[in-house]
Symmetry: C2
Subunit: 177 residues, 2 copies
């Protein structure tokens, strides 16, 4: 069922992921789907992230600038890829009016991803590479949130050069003083 839902999401977009179509594609009953998932959107979110766990990998070589650049470049590749980018944008989009999808997106992806980034930031802070007096959680929004902004509100280009410049902006600051 997860495989069928993921295929529908990637091939036809979030609107194709309905209990009807997943049941048909998986050869299961709609009753079974209703039993396990509170909404088709929640199923779509779980299905998508069940197959992209490796994307959560985060290098930790001891050099926070290199590790962030590497992670953000991989993230930009993921969210600008024709299939996965459209799928992620569709999931976040429908999540705005589907609380069950929103909860599944958080549980299966964004909350563990935020926690992982925080762990990496804390290690970098303990090594003396990140300042001790800032809220490290905000860095998550400044980095991945900035990329999502260009995905969801596409007024400016999103590519690996952007990821590189973004990491430097976030680490070095914009102010001259």
């Amino acid at each position: 069922m997860l495989r069928a839902a993921a295929a529908l999401l990637l091939n036809e977009g979030i609107k194709a992921v309905t209990f009807d179509r997943v049941a048909k594609a998986a050869g299961s009953s709609k009753m079974t789907l209703y039993k396990w998932w509170p909404s088709a959107g929640a199923l779509a979110a779980e299905a998508f992230f069940a197959h992209s766990e490796h994307q959560l990998e985060f290098p930790d070589t001891g050099d926070i600038r290199a590790d962030l650049t590497s992670q953000l470049r991989a993230f930009v590749r993921l969210i600008t890829h024709a299939d996965t980018g459209t799928a992620i944008a569709g999931l976040i989009g429908v999540a705005q009016t589907d609380p069950e999808l929103s909860a599944a997106f958080s549980q299966h992806y964004s909350a563990p991803r935020r926690a992982l980034a925080l762990t990496v930031f804390e290690r970098a802070r303990d090594r003396g590479q990140l300042r001790g007096d800032i809220d490290l959680g905000i860095l998550v929004d400044q980095l991945w949130g900035a990329c999502y902004n260009r995905l969801l509100i596409p007024d400016a280009p999103l590519n690996e050069d952007y990821a590189i410049a973004l990491v430097n902006n976030v680490l070095d600051g914009a102010s001259t003083t």
Copy 2:
């Protein structure tokens, strides 16, 4: 028609903005709506921003840190307000599967807002307050995009304290070196 669409969006959410319901509420014909707007989503976006032009105001006192803090605090108030926050999240959400809404959102709101921020950044750079060697466009994503991230993927709190800390993070940088 714009007033009727805005009222439906604010009172009942983005899904209530259909040509049927707007025509009924405005006492106009659906044919007229089809003639002027390519989708109900595009009408919803134009309707919403027709009444929030003042939100585009951006103080320019000569102190970029104070001006950004003031602007970001007002922005966070707007997007965390029960009515307007849900409306903006709904517009961005549906924009992911409605290209006409996406285009209208950009035209009536996000593109002019980005241009205005860039103008303010360029003036601050010319005054020597922002570094001359960075891509100022990325700052837009680090600031407003970071706030949108907490609105759209609500894994962490969004409030005025967040706006204040965010501006300092962006200006001062996270790195110790």
